[in-house]
């Protein structure tokens, strides 16, 4: 009867209910979008390492992120490759550079990635497909999702990186617009030519372990062998560190987290107002229920059920609108945002918390409703 009463009360005034649901849909949609962006940044932040197949990575102690990494001597990669359990290794070169399209005067921020000829370390099918094309001097593989400021990115197009002419030979997909305008993958030789870095330098040393090797044990062994200025991460740890940098240390994470908090507060306030009007309009009826012997838990249960009904009615349309908007955003910005079960459940949990908070606040009115005043 509690749910039945909540349902009937909720739909007694359909126009008001529709207006309330629209408002709640908007607040919940805001939560979906902000959390979706946050998730997109998190996913995008470590996309490069998702494209590579490795078990352990060696980086400098000063390594911040792929766009801000301190190099170290490749002799230490060779040292690590001799350790028990390590099967093979590959040096990864990372650097920031400038991109200049001949058709415009703008300079773009770009991250360049230099790879050795070790296709075993490549997991992404696009990079695998175009892998051979980058071993021709001054030919590069360019991010298909480059920002418009980069200009024409067609295959065969020539542009300047750090003042040196290069040619686009193939494409892959990255789209991390918040880290750089575009990404370029090239051979180690082209990378050294464009950056002028000493040939013995490495940004990241990637290692693959022998089948059956204990990742934790090899990591510990390498930490003992390698000098103090280096640190060893598993694949998951490196991806986590990369994500953490953008989410916790860059303003972008804080920005979206603040957005989620604001959307949550808007939802709580809106739901509070909807319930408050609903309860105020029926305060005499609730007082009557108290008078005739209904206990407070029944009456509060009706209010809580109504809160959940309103919230779920707002959740359902916002879920579907969010799916559409995520597709649109991905098509326009290439930020890897999409609906997934984790996001859906996270927002649902937020919505239920929203219900709980607003119900606790609004049901104080019911608690204070004095049946004596009915006489």
């Amino acid at each position: 009867m509690r749910l039945e009463l909540a349902l009937k009360n909720t739909f007694a005034n359909r126009t008001r209910t529709l207006a309330s649901v629209c408002g709640l849909t908007f607040a919940i949609l805001l939560m979906f979008m902000q959390l979706g962006f946050l998730e997109g940044v998190r996913k995008g932040a470590a996309l490069l390492y998702e494209y590579l197949d490795f078990d352990l990575a060696i980086v400098s102690n000063k390594y911040q992120t792929m766009g801000d990494s301190e190099s170290f001597d490749r002799v230490h990669l060779a040292q690590a490759m001799c350790a028990r359990g390590v099967e093979k290794g590959m040096g990864l070169l990372l650097s920031q550079a400038t991109w200049k399209d001949p058709d415009n005067t703008l300079l773009s921020r770009i991250i360049i990635i230099g790879l050795a000829r070790s296709p075993d370390f490549i997991a992404d099918p696009d990079i695998k497909r175009g892998f051979d094309t980058i071993f021709i001097p001054d030919k590069i593989m360019l991010d298909r999702f480059s920002q418009p400021v980069v200009g024409n990115i067609a295959i065969g197009r020539r542009a300047k990186i750090n003042g040196h002419w290069i040619e686009v030979a193939s494409h892959f997909k990255m789209g991390m617009f918040f880290a750089a305008d575009t990404f370029a993958v090239m051979s180690r030789e082209t990378f050294l030519h464009l950056t002028g870095q000493p040939p013995q330098d490495l940004s990241v040393g990637l290692l693959k372990l022998k089948p059956g090797a204990d990742r934790g044990a090899v990591k510990k062994a390498l930490e003992k062998i390698l000098p103090d200025g280096l640190q060893v991460f598993t694949r998951d740890e490196l991806i986590g560190k990369e994500q953490d940098f953008f989410i916790s240390q860059k303003p972008v994470g804080f920005m979206f987290e603040t957005g989620v908090a604001v959307a949550f507060c808007v939802g709580v306030i809106f739901l509070f107002q909807v319930l408050s009007v609903e309860i105020s309009n029926r305060i005499n009826e609730y007082a009557t229920l108290k008078a005739i012997g209904f206990d407070l838990s029944f009456i509060c249960g009706v209010g809580l059920n109504q809160a959940i009904l309103f919230a779920l009615m707002g959740y359902a349309p916002s879920f579907f609108i969010a799916i559409g908007l995520f597709r649109l955003i991905y098509a326009v910005s290439r930020l890897p945002v999409s609906m997934n079960i984790h996001l859906a459940l996270l927002v649902l949990a937020d919505v239920l918390s929203m219900c709980a908070i607003s119900s606790v606040l609004v049901l104080q009115k019911v608690r204070r409703a004095d049946p004596v005043e009915l006489f």
């Binding site: 009867m1 039945e4 009463l5 009937k8 009360n9 739909f11 007694a12 029926r282 005499n284 009826e285 007082a287 009557t288 229920l289 008078a291 005739i292 012997g293 209904f294 206990d295 029944f298 049946p371 004596v372 009915l374 006489f375």
Partner: protein
């Protein structure tokens, strides 16, 4: 006069164990109900005084009141506005905490009750308010059915009982109507059906006919009288309505916070007093 509860006879009603079985009735001690229902008064008010406010704002509204109402008795309480009628009614109904004196409802003392204990007692009392306070989102049937969740009705019995009681108050054809589609009198009759559905042993009514026309008011008075007769329940009505005064077994008058019983008072004289 038609019987309010057509579906369940008095014997069936007792066998439900809700109110008819003394051992299961929380307000009636074992043996009181069948062996000597007249022995235990429905309501016993002794030396009840009540104040509002504190300190300089303290105002006494009831002074040393005594009142006994027996099962099956219809008592009306009259008196000028501010004389304390409603305060006394709400004290008997455990809606207010008792300050001084004692009140027992079917032998159960109401002083010092916890909120949960007071709720339990209220479940056995039928409250009729001046305003109906029905849920406008529910039909007449659903409003009455809502109250059945407070008693031990089985699913099959509920439907019949709700339909019967709505028929008894003349609303058989209006079961599926929401309060907005009913007249004021019809709404009040739904509220009365809600108060009576669980067969309370005590009915407390505050101006139940105040907003009603002659016919509706008359029907409600008739229902309350029949309830007292058929179910042996006690009825206390605060009213200024002559129609109610006419069906009362006893009329008590409350002036300046003090009851003056008038068992033998001529009703015409009383009418003059009230008017």
């Amino acid at each position: 006069m038609r019987n309010i509860f057509k579906r369940l006879t008095a014997n069936e009603y007792r066998s439900k164990g809700d109110t008819g079985n003394p051992e299961k009735h929380p307000l009636i001690g074992a043996g009181d109900f069948q062996a000597g229902r007249e022995k235990t008064p429905a309501v016993e008010v002794k030396a009840v005084s009540h104040c509002y406010g504190a300190g300089e704002n303290r105002r006494q509204v009831l002074f040393d009141n005594h009142l006994t109402i027996h099962p099956g008795e219809v008592v009306t309480m009259t008196g000028p506005s501010g004389s304390g009628k409603t305060t006394l009614l709400t004290l008997i109904g455990t809606l207010r905490s008792l300050q001084e004196g004692s009140i027992t409802v079917y032998g159960r003392a109401t002083k010092g009750l916890s909120a949960a204990e007071a709720v339990k007692i209220r479940r056995k009392i039928g409250f009729i308010f001046q305003t109906h306070n029905l849920f406008d989102s529910l039909t007449a049937y659903e409003n009455v059915k809502l109250a059945t969740t407070l008693a031990d009705w089985s699913g099959r019995e509920v439907h019949g009982a709700v339909v019967d009681i709505l028929a008894a108050v003349g609303l058989a054809e209006r079961c599926s109507y929401k309060p907005g589609k009913l007249s004021v009198g019809q709404r009040q009759r739904v509220a009365i059906a809600r108060a009576l559905i669980n067969r309370p042993k005590l009915i407390l009514a505050d101006e139940p006919t105040a907003a009603l026309d002659k016919d509706s008011g008359g029907l409600i008075v008739e229902i309350l009288r029949e309830m007292a007769n058929a179910e042996n329940c006690a009825v206390l009505i605060v009213t200024h309505d002559n129609r109610v005064l006419q069906v009362a077994d006893r009329i008590v008058h409350l002036v300046d916070g003090q009851i003056s019983s008038m068992p033998n008072m001529d009703r015409c004289l009383l009418q003059a007093v009230v008017e």
